[in-house]
């Protein structure tokens, strides 16, 4: 297992998330793709912690722990926003949510 393999894998995961965020119409799927990208970034932290020069410092792991916490908060607020938007527009299709002050 080389560092490159891990990094390529996490890059692939990140690009899948990016692709999902760009191509889908459904707001929830877009949020879900952002979640994927966040996780790919987390994976990078862990990889660099594991393959880094100072693995004893545990800073990568700490970063991921905080990142997971933030991701949870982000998911909660993001989905609350989606629900609020749905109440207003009666749809979660991002192409239709195009007017301000609806």
């Amino acid at each position: 297992m080389t560092l490159e393999t891990w990094l390529v894998f996490s890059a692939a995961l990140f690009c899948v998330g990016l692709c999902g965020a760009l191509i889908r119409r459904n707001a929830i799927i877009v949020l879900l793709s952002i979640e994927l990208m966040l996780n790919a970034a987390n994976l990078n932290f862990i990889i660099f912690w594991r393959y880094g020069v100072n693995a004893d410092a545990a800073s990568g792991v700490m970063m991921v722990i905080f990142s997971i916490g933030i991701a949870a908060a982000e998911a909660a607020v993001g989905l609350a926003l989606v629900i609020a938007v749905y109440r207003h527009f009666k749809t979660v299709n991002l192409d239709r949510i195009d007017s301000m002050k609806g």
Binding site: R24, I28, R50, I68, A72, A80, I83
Partner: protein
Amino acid sequence: MDAPFLIAAVLTLLSAIAAISLRNVVHCALCLTLTFLGLATLYLQLGAQFVGLTQIVVNVGAVAIVIVFAILLTRSSDNPGESRFNKGAIWAGLICAAVFATLVVAINTSYVSMKSGAPAPPLTVEKIGHELMGRYVLPLEAIALLLTAALIGAVIIAMKESNEKGGGQ
């Protein structure tokens, strides 16, 4: 390349692709859960036991459930005739491919100090606890505040209009 990594990586990638491409939104959410699980096993393979298990507790136990609830509450009734993809989906796909290619090239050409992993450092839960209470105590408090704010904010955002509606009826 060892077998556990290969299995987990393929599973994670395939389920991630399924999560962004399936028509049924609930299926997407379930596939995302599978991705989270695969990622957790990858964390475990990297020797980050605490993070892997936290990943399962938070992402599978909470985030996936919240997503699923949101899906059911919004009842995203895509009419079947309509495409689930954007108008510019092809361009977006191309951009993603370009990003991926750039990243791969960057990874392979950059100088990396340590090519293969040293034996995993023993990172006990106790040590993480000491770190959290010592060097990282300020971020910990900050994240506690953030989570509280997020909780209250999410409740207010999701409740606001239903209150107005309730008053109106």
